[in-house]
Amino acid sequence: MLDHLTEKFSGALRKLSGRGRISESNIREAMGEVRTALLEADVHYDVVKKFCDDIVDKAVGSEVLKSLKPGEQMIKIVYDELVQLMGPVDSHIMYVQPAPTIVMMSGLQGSGKTTTCGKLAAYLKKKGKSVMLAAADLQRPAAVEQLRTLAEQVEEGSPGGGAVRFYGEPDKCAEYGKAVGVAVKVCRNALKAARSANVDVLILDTAGRLHVNDDLMGELRQVDKALNPHQIYLVIDAMTGQDAVNSAKAFNEQLELDGVILSKTDSDTRGGAALTVKEITGKPIKFVGTGEKIEALEEFHPDRMASRILGMGDVVSLVEKAQEQVSEEEALKLQEKMESGKMTMDDFLDQLRKIRKMGSMKALLGMLPGVGQQLKDLDMNDGELDRTEAMINSMTRHERKDVDLLDQSRRRRVATGSGVEPKDVSQLVKGFDMVQNMTKQMAGMGALQRMRALGGLGKQDLAAMGGSSGPSFKTRQRSKRKKKDRKRKSR
C-alpha cells in the first residue's frame, strides 16, 4: 500500500540520471511515469494531461537538459509546479462589520460537513471569536442533534475566549426530499438569532446533497440568495476519486465558492483530489481536516500536499504526529537520560508504546522521504514489536534498569516468559546496548552531525536542492556498519 508513486518516480529518475544527459524524448518517457503516478493518486484524467504537457514544455525550455542531475531537476520542476498550482495558502477569513460574518458549508453526503462545522467553531473560538452553529441540515436523521452536541462540546471543552452557541429547529426535520426549501426559513431565523446574540460568526451546516439533485441544489441557491453568506465553503473528502471534478464544478457553478475544505486527510490517501478541485474551481483550499478530534483542523500546506501526492514522504506530519504523543518536557527528560547513558529498558518500552500509538511502523516509515519505496517489499511486521514488548514485560524491574544483569540463565527465563527463543532476547539486549552507546556518543555532536550519523540525508543531498525548503529526493539505504564508520569519521 506504500508509495506506488515514489517507486514510479524513482524509476523514472533512475532512467534519467543513469544516462547523464537526457533528450526531449527521455523527458516524455519519464513523464509517462509521472502521469501514471498522478492518476494513481486520484488526480483527474484531464488535469493530469494538462499538467504533464505543461511540465514537458517547462522542462524542455529550461536548463534541465544541460544539468548534471537532470532527474532531480525534473522532480524539482514537478514538485514546484504542484506546490504552485495548489497554493497560495489562504486560510484567512474576512470578518465583516456589522457582525455576524456568515459562513456556509456545502458538499456531498458524508464529506464531513457537520464535523467540519464543529472544528471550525473550535478554531474560531481559539481566535477569540464568538460563533453560532446553525443546523440547516433537516434531511439526515439526527443531524441537528449531532450539531447541537458538537456545539456543546466546543463550548465546554475547547480552549479560547469566544462563546459557542447553537441554533436549530429540530421540529422542522423531515424525510429526504420532503423538507426542501424549509432550510431557507431556518437559516433566516438563525441569522436573526445570531444578530440578537451578537456573535461574530454564523456557521450554516447545510444538508449533504448530490450535485445532480436539482431541487436540493436549488435550495442551496435560495439560502445563498436569502442570506448572502460572506464565505461559502465546499467540504470535500480527501479520498475522493475522479468524480471530484464533477461535484466541485457543479457546486462552484451554482454557489460561487470562496474556498474548499479538504476533510479526512489523516487517511493514507495520496490526496490527488486536492489538485483536481483547485484546478477546477480555482478557489483556495482553506483548511484540512486531520483527525477525529475537534481541534483537528489545520491550515492547508501546498508543499506537504505536493510531497504527499508525489509520495515523497511527509516529514513535517511525522514530527507533528510524534508531538501528539510526546510532550516537549518528556522529550527533554528522555534526551538527558539518553545522553548520560542512563536510558533503561523501561524508557525504551515507554518509547516503543508511544511510537506504536502513532500508527503502524510501516506507515510511519513511509512518511520519511524515499523510504517508502525501499519498504515496499519488506514485510514490516508489527508483531516484531509485540514480541519486543513481551520480552521487556518478562524482565524483572532490576533487569530493566540494568540489562547487564541478563546472563544466559535469565535470558532463558525471559525467553520462556515471552514465548520467544533465547537468541531473540540476546538480540534485543545487543540492540539496546548499541542504541545506548550511540546516543551517548551523539550527545557531544551538533545537530547536523547527528543527522548525518543517523544516515539518510547527506550534506550534498540538501545542497542539491539549492536550499532547505524542498524535500530531498535522493536517499540511499546505508548499512549499519557504514553508519558506524561515518560516525567515527565525524568524531
Binding site: 456531498l108 458524508g110 436523521p141 445532480v212 479520498m239 475522479q242 500509538k357
Partner: protein, 305 residues
C-alpha cells in the same frame, strides 16, 4: 431467494439517467475502431476510478487486438470489457448468507461518511419486507447523535434497536444486542459501527473486538461482514478494503452513493486485489433505494457520461 427482488422492478432515477446518457459512448463504439476511439475508452475507464493497472491491462489487450485486426469495431471493445468485468463477479457471490438456525448477524463497517447507517436502513427494510424479524444494534457510540440517527431509522421502519451509552464500549453493545437477538428470536441482527479511518489502528482493533464478542455469543456469527464503500472514493478504497478485511474478514461490499455521477469503478480493483464481492448498490436516500449489484448494468453505467 426473493430478497431484494422487489427493488429490481423499480427503475431508479439514477439508472434511468444512466441509460439516457449512455448513447454518447454507444455512438462512439458503433463506429469503426481507431486509435482515437481507443484513447477515449481509456479516458473513460480511468475516469470511472477503475484504476490505472486494470485500465492499462484492458487497453493493451484492445490495442493488440486492433493491430492484429481481431477488433475492428467499437462494440467489440465494449463486449470485451463487459465480459472481462462480468466474469470477475460471478453470480453466486451476491447473495446474503443466512444462519441455518437462530439469528443471522450482519456486521457493517466503513470509514466516516461512507453511508453505513443509511445502508443499514436499506438492508433492514428489504429484510423486513421479506417477512424477517430485524433488529438493529447501535454500536456507534462515538459520533455525536449517531445512535439517534439509527433510532430514527428504526422507528420509521418499525424495527427494534439495541443501544448503549454515548461514549460507551461498542463491543458491550454488540454483546447485549447478540444476546437480545437470541432471546427475542430475531431473524437478523444488523450491527452498525462507528465510522473509522482504516489507518486508525486502535479503532480497527476495536472493530475486531466487536466481531470477536459477537462470535463468543453466537458461535458462527457474524454471518456476513459488509464493508460500505462510497462510490466516489478513489484508489484509496483498496487500502480501506484491505485493512477492513484484515480486521474483520469482510465478506462483501455495499457500494453506496451510485446515484451521483461517480461510477464506483474502484470495486473492480478491489475485487482483483482482494477478491471481495459486491453485494448491493445504494442508489438514493430513501430506504427503498437499494439494488442487488448487477455487473452488466454496472459496466453499462461505466460507459455512460
Amino acid at each position: 431467494m426473493g430478497l431484494f427482488s422487489f427493488s429490481i422492478k423499480k427503475v431508479k432515477a439514477g439508472l434511468a439517467r444512466t441509460r439516457q446518457t449512455f448513447s454518447k459512448l454507444r455512438n462512439l463504439l458503433s463506429r469503426e475502431l481507431s486509435d482515437d476511439v481507443i484513447d477515449q475508452v481509456e479516458a473513460l475507464l480511468i475516469q470511472s476510478d477503475i484504476g490505472v493497472k486494470t485500465t492499462v491491462a484492458l487497453i493493451d489487450h484492445v490495442r493488440e487486438a486492433y493491430r492484429e485486426k481481431k477488433f475492428t469495431r467499437g462494440d467489440q471493445v465494449f463486449d470485451y470489457i463487459k465480459r472481462y468485468i462480468t466474469e470477475l463477479f460471478p453470480a453466486e457471490d451476491r447473495s446474503l448468507h443466512f444462519a441455518p438456525s437462530g439469528p443471522t448477524v450482519i456486521l457493517v463497517g466503513g470509514i466516516n461518511g461512507a453511508g453505513k447507517t443509511t445502508s443499514i436502513a436499506k438492508i433492514a427494510k428489504a429484510l423486513r419486507d421479506d417477512n424477517k424479524k430485524v433488529m438493529l444494534a447501535a454500536c456507534d457510540t462515538f459520533r455525536a447523535a449517531a445512535v439517534e440517527q439509527l433510532e430514527i431509522w428504526a422507528q420509521r421502519l418499525g424495527v427494534e434497536v439495541i443501544k448503549g451509552q454515548q461514549g460507551g464500549d461498542p463491543a458491550a453493545v454488540a454483546f447485549d444486542a447478540a444476546d437480545a437477538a437470541v432471546a427475542r428470536n430475531a431473524d437478523v441482527l444488523l450491527v452498525d459501527t462507528a465510522g473509522r479511518l482504516h489507518t486508525q489502528q486502535h479503532l480497527m482493533r476495536q472493530l475486531t473486538k466487536i466481531r470477536n464478542v459477537i462470535t463468543r455469543k453466537i458461535p458462527d456469527a457474524p454471518h456476513e461482514v459488509i464493508l460500505v464503500l462510497d462510490a466516489t472514493t478513489g484508489q484509496n478504497a483498496i487500502n480501506q478494503a484491505r485493512l477492513f478485511k484484515e480486521s474483520v474478514d469482510v465478506s462483501g461490499i455495499f457500494l453506496s452513493k451510485l446515484d451521483g455521477t461517480a461510477k464506483g469503478g474502484i470495486v473492480v480493483a478491489v475485487r482483483q486485489e482482494l477478491g471481495l464481492p459486491v453485494k448491493f448498490i445504494g442508489v438514493g436516500e430513501t430506504p427503498d433505494d437499494v439494488e442487488p449489484f448487477d455487473p452488466e448494468k454496472f459496466v453499462e453505467a461505466l460507459f455512460s457520461e
